[in-house]
Symmetry: C2
């Protein structure tokens, strides 16, 4: 896992993934007490950065492997990223989703052209279903984060941040990244190390799911006690990955931990001031910039808005914070 | 008023206005029955394209004129554009706004450092108030649309559309533009004439405020019967301008007229599928692409989302259409 893989992924993604803009607002700056630069990956295809990693993984396969089709486990952003990237590559995708997933997410994944296989969380094991599918149908598994070509794809977001920060005159700043398993955070950290050494990645996580922040402190992989029960559904991963954690440990600054209320308020400010739609897990980094400002140094801070796949009732809760 | 003025404005805006992206979604395409490309000017500074025209006008003034300060009358977006562009130029701005403007627009205009003077849309004439202030206080009036340097600034959006459409492989399409007085529409039309002759501008307006559509049909300037009473506050202009109309008449295809319900539904789809915040007047063109598809030809259509300055209660109405 190295910068050359990220640069190669950037070439494969060129003309396929969107180069998302670099936004700011004087009103956001006022709240945060410093200049805040926002990388809105909610504007990426499928509404999250996950399209980058999915495209990277699919485009890195040889023809024989790719034409056999791919499989992924996810009920969320990785599912949509893999389904759409596979559709654009003209190959079959099977997404294994829990049968109690929201109907809209199942419908969206199918609308991106994927075959959805539902399983019962209580009685079935998704790894067994996947292994069975892989063996019987020759599908290649695309893991959500602990997979080098996926990390390389997410790292292309970091290459863009390095360029856009330089254009904005920002040479020294923390780059706060919404963090689940650490695919986006580790990819960005590697890109910044090579292209913008004055910029330092820092993970943002929800309260109660701060496995990465604790792992960075202890120096070893720590797990969360719970697997659900927070609005930031996109980043509720049990623990950092075996590939991502050593990168995070070597390159990242301390983790930032945010409350559900602060996440909703950050979604409201993104609506009001940046005119973009952030989902709860995608607003964690902005929440940290706005409401954990004492834990941040410097005149500038950069944040990712990693996704915007939120349903209307949850977004209404964010609007009510305004 | 010509393409050279737009190109000169693009040079003055470079590094100051944002180059907004070019978005699309397969879900939006399915509804519209063709490929839909979206130019989200809601992501421009101050949340609308108006920053382009304001920066163009201010940057075109000589030092003596600019340092005397500026005045503008506006329902909100031109107000914010002028206020922020004036602040960035370090000069005073007085903004004359209707008293029924969205609270966010009035608050923002004040927050950008401008002096705000409110008037009653039904009983007072904003042109007279503006002319009076200009005479008494030596301020230079920046008209919202019927002003060559403002049209030149808005036209820079058209230069970007021409480039981005070519990159997307789109050489022939209607470009539907949310239209009030016609500043953005005429600027885009002039830019397309020079840079992308296969692209044709078409105005989109709300029902009951279709002065431009009627004027294009009759060949002369037609007025609206009402001046208020539609959610599309940003584009409720009494009639096309003396400078904009001849350009619109020479270059535009037929106008498209949309209902308030369709505008709210378009805002909902922009939230759900594009992850951007559109205000009612800014969603008129997308509403036309989605719900007036029989009046559009071709495999592709391009639309502007011209602004995103909407209060939470109105946005909630849009979410309820989903």
């Amino acid at each position: 896992m190295n910068i050359d893989m990220i640069r190669a992924a950037a070439e494969r993604l060129s003309g396929h993934a969107r180069r998302t803009p670099f936004l700011n607002s004087p009103f956001i700056d006022d709240i945060a007490g410093r200049r805040v630069w926002v990388k809105p990956e909610c504007l990426q295809h499928t509404g999250s950065f996950k399209f980058r990693g999915a495209w990277s993984a699919l485009s890195a396969m040889d023809d024989a492997q790719r034409s056999g089709g791919v499989v992924a486990f996810s009920s969320g952003n990785h599912a949509q990223g893999v389904a759409y990237a596979a559709k654009l590559h003209g190959v079959a995708a099977v997404i294994v989703m829990p049968s109690d997933s929201p109907a809209l997410k199942i419908a969206n994944t199918r609308a991106f052209g994927a075959e959805v296989i539902l399983y019962d969380r209580e009685t079935e094991n998704r790894e067994e279903i996947g292994a069975d599918l892989s063996a019987k149908r020759g599908l290649t598994l695309i893991k959500p984060f602990d997979e080098p070509q996926v990390i390389a794809g997410q790292g292309t977001c970091g290459l863009e941040i390095a360029e856009q920060a330089a254009q904005a005159g920002v040479t020294k700043a923390d780059v706060i990244v919404c963090c689940g398993g650490g695919g986006l955070t580790s990819g960005i950290a590697l890109a910044l190390e090579a292209e913008a050494p004055g910029l330092r990645a820092r993970p943002a996580e929800p309260e109660g799911f701060d496995d990465v922040a604790r792992s960075l402190r202890s120096g070893g992989i720590e797990r969360n006690n719970r697997s659900a029960g927070n609005i930031c559904d996109a980043i509720l991963t049990p623990q950092p990955g075996d590939i991502t954690f050593p990168i995070l440990h070597r390159l990242c600054g301390p983790g930032l931990v945010v409350s559900e209320h602060d996440v909703l308020a950050a979604m409201g400010h993104a609506f009001n001031r940046l005119k973009v739609v952030a989902e709860p897990g995608g607003a964690a980094a902005l929440a940290a910039a706005l409401f954990r400002q004492d834990e941040i140094d410097g005149e500038d801070v950069i944040v990712t808005i990693s996704g915007g796949n939120v349903d209307a009732p949850m977004f209404q809760r964010a609007l009510e914070t305004l």
